[in-house]
Amino acid sequence: MSETQRILILHGGLLVLLFVLQFVLPAYHHGNLARIMVLATYAVGYNILFGYTGLLSLGHALFFAAGMYGMGLTIQHAGFTPAPALLVGLVAGALVSGALALLALRTAGVAFMIVTLMFAQAGYLTILYFGEYTRGDEGFVIQQAQRVLWGIDLSDPTNRYFAAWGLFGICLLISLWLVRAPFGRTLVAIRENEERVRMLGYDTFAHKLTAMVISGTIAAAAGAFYGLLFGYAGASFASVQYSIFPLLWVLLGGAGTVLGPFVGTLFMFYLIDLSSGITTAYMLIAGVVLVALTLFAPQGLTGELRRRVWRWLP
């Protein structure tokens, strides 16, 4: 079996498995998995910039929120239907990430982290400042009647699951294709040694800019879908916490692996969910597990799998 075949079988298999799970999972886990797939999409976007390009952003909540509010505000105030509203969310994400890239990519390393963090914080405060429209920290509900996409009611559990599955599937395949294409290889090369790539004649700035826009747009898609599927847009999704989450998910699952973001999101979600059933100090449990993973599987779960078993994992 060729490497490409193996890769297609593995990733296609995951999507088929997720599709089939829809019919067998009990209601609680069914709802969770829909949520996890949307959040994993966010992590997939983050992974393109962090895992493959080597740029550690602390401001991705800005893009997630750009998508969520681009979608939510147009539905709420301009009476848009979900399809054009989702498009507005995507465009908002692309524009915001493009603009931030132009500024932040002038820096590198720690400075890049700080600049992205500051802009995300500015975005969060902007949402609070325009509270008249955004309802600030309280946020607003996207009513059930406003969540009907092409006649499909997205508040229905089955439809929600399929929408989340579709979004995740598309973004996962984009990510898979991207990292195997010459463009993605160049991103990995930039991550490994930017100077050398530049010396070989590549425009590294353009590559990083494009990577950031793709990453930001996927994050925005996740934000827009999250708001639409679960009926709520609020400023907490723009807070610094939501910039840290995708970093954690990707680190746990395996940075620079296509499946890592999903594995990390799934793991973290159930870690919190199960440990919170045991003690109110569940963040302590989560913390200890994170420390242990960092010590014993520094490349994340999927990264470790690649190191030990499947060396062909993209």
Partner: protein, 428 residues
């Protein structure tokens, strides 16, 4: 037609007998389960802010809830069934809040969800409660329920909302403290509610707001905002919340010295904080809204006395076991009263199980007068079934010698405003 007859073997007979015996052995188990259906406890999912910014409130909401449930169970439970609280921490986060509501409905099989305080968690969670058709009783004092933003399955029958609280303060402020008001409020939704509702209410009383001073959420020092307070301000209205409130009061004291205007604030800022804490001396002689008087008053009702003892709160509003642990007395009665509303609703609806959730909603919607009683120790209330919001008395207290002394009780009518929604038109 031919019939295949299998030979009976010794092994086959033994197998059959063993199977039958095993079946018989399990009989009592499932028989007990079938019988248990009706005596299973009623499960109330308690969405608790155990961690995050709402933790101080969550702790006391928890204690009040436990006390009420203990009492309800001691008196025979609801419809003869015991009540069990299933508490889940939502981290005071709307995303986790929605997940917790899903967990109540689809994993714990709770009959209802209950107890959410912070507005953003309510607003983030309520859509899921509506979709899952889980009756969701919030104790939030937000205007979100009555504004029509939420859905038929979300109700607030145990605590009044900020719009009614704020507007009921205006007549007293205008009459007794002054008509020229300057407002200082945090620059987020909670502060904006105060800004909008109070400005309108004081204007209706012939007063005016001279200046709105919005303080950004992350501010730690306030001195630079005080020069914006106009000199002819008669009343300073403040609703600062969060850990910076002590600094706010201290700096305000340094700014005004002995010649301050009258001051009126919402106790929300100082819930779980001792009013005689060092640094709060400047509040002496100022006025506060209280949802329920924290300090036992001279005319303390028998119901307040009973409720206070049941929850374990002393006459100064602190825990009986730790006098430094101050309660969130102005809000937490909402949990107690909501649980009694759930009890009354389930009894009126003849509630048996999740199949009767719609009937429970209708039973609560049919409620109206709630007289002051042990079930309603904060005072009498009127529930509006259309807007799913309860209305009740509000209290104004003055700080006198480190004690909050009640000086005014509003009428329930003072808190009314025209309906903004009719949830009963939505399908169940």
């Amino acid at each position: 037609m031919t019939k295949l007859i299998k030979d009976t073997t010794r092994r086959g007979a033994l197998k059959t007998m063993a199977g039958a015996a095993a079946g018989a052995a399990t009989m009592p188990l499932w028989a007990r389960f079938a019988q248990a259906q009706s005596s299973e406890p009623i499960k109330i999912g308690f969405q608790q802010h155990s961690t995050g910014i709402g933790a101080a409130y969550g702790r006391w909401y928890g204690r009040t809830t436990e006390a009420a449930v203990k009492l309800i169970n001691e008196n025979g439970g609801i419809n003869g069934r015991m009540v069990e609280i299933v508490a889940e921490d939502d981290g005071t986060d709307p995303k986790r809040g929605a997940e917790v509501v899903e967990k109540f409905a689809t994993q714990h099989n709770c009959d209802v969800g209950f107890g959410t305080l912070f507005s953003h968690v309510v607003i983030g969670s309520a859509p899921r409660a509506g979709e899952l058709k889980l009756p969701y009783f919030v104790v939030s004092e937000g205007h979100h329920v009555a504004s029509g933003m939420l859905n038929r399955y979300t109700l607030q029958p145990g605590i009044t909302d900020v719009k009614s609280q704020v507007q009921a303060m205006a007549p007293y402020v205008a009459e007794n403290l002054g008509k020229k008001v300057t407002m200082v409020f945090p620059d987020f939704a909670f502060g904006h509610d105060h800004r909008d509702f109070f400005t309108a209410a004081i204007e209706a009383q012939g007063g005016e707001v001279l200046e709105h001073i919005a303080i950004p959420p992350a501010e730690t020092s306030f001195t630079k905002y005080f020069p914006k307070i106009p000199r002819d301000t008669e009343v300073l209205y403040h609703v600062m919340v969060g850990p910076a409130v002590l600094t706010f009061v201290k700096e305000l004291g340094e700014f005004f010295g002995p010649s301050r205007p009258e001051m009126f604030g919402f106790i929300d800022s100082l819930e779980a904080v001792a009013i005689d804490s060092p640094g709060l001396e400047f509040l002496e002689g100022t006025y506060f809204w209280e949802g329920m008087p924290r300090h036992a008053q001279g005319d303390q009702s028998e119901h307040d006395k009973f409720y206070r003892a049941a929850v374990g709160v002393n006459e100064r509003g602190a825990s009986v076991s730790d006098p430094t642990d101050i309660s969130t007395y102005a809000h937490m009665f909402g949990c107690w009263e909501t649980l009694y509303v759930i009890k009354a609703g389930m009894e009126a609806a003849g509630y048996q199980g999740p199949g009767d959730r719609a009937a429970l909603i209708e039973a609560v919607e049919a409620m109206s007068d709630m007289p002051e009683s042990r079930a309603h120790p904060q005072g009498a209330k009127v529930f509006n079934g259309k807007t799913h919001q309860v209305f009740g008395h509000q209290y104004i207290s003055r700080v006198e010698g480190g004690k909050l002394v009640k000086v005014h009780t509003t009428s329930i009518e003072d808190t009314f405003y025209p309906d903004e929604v009719d949830y009963t038109t939505q399908p169940l």
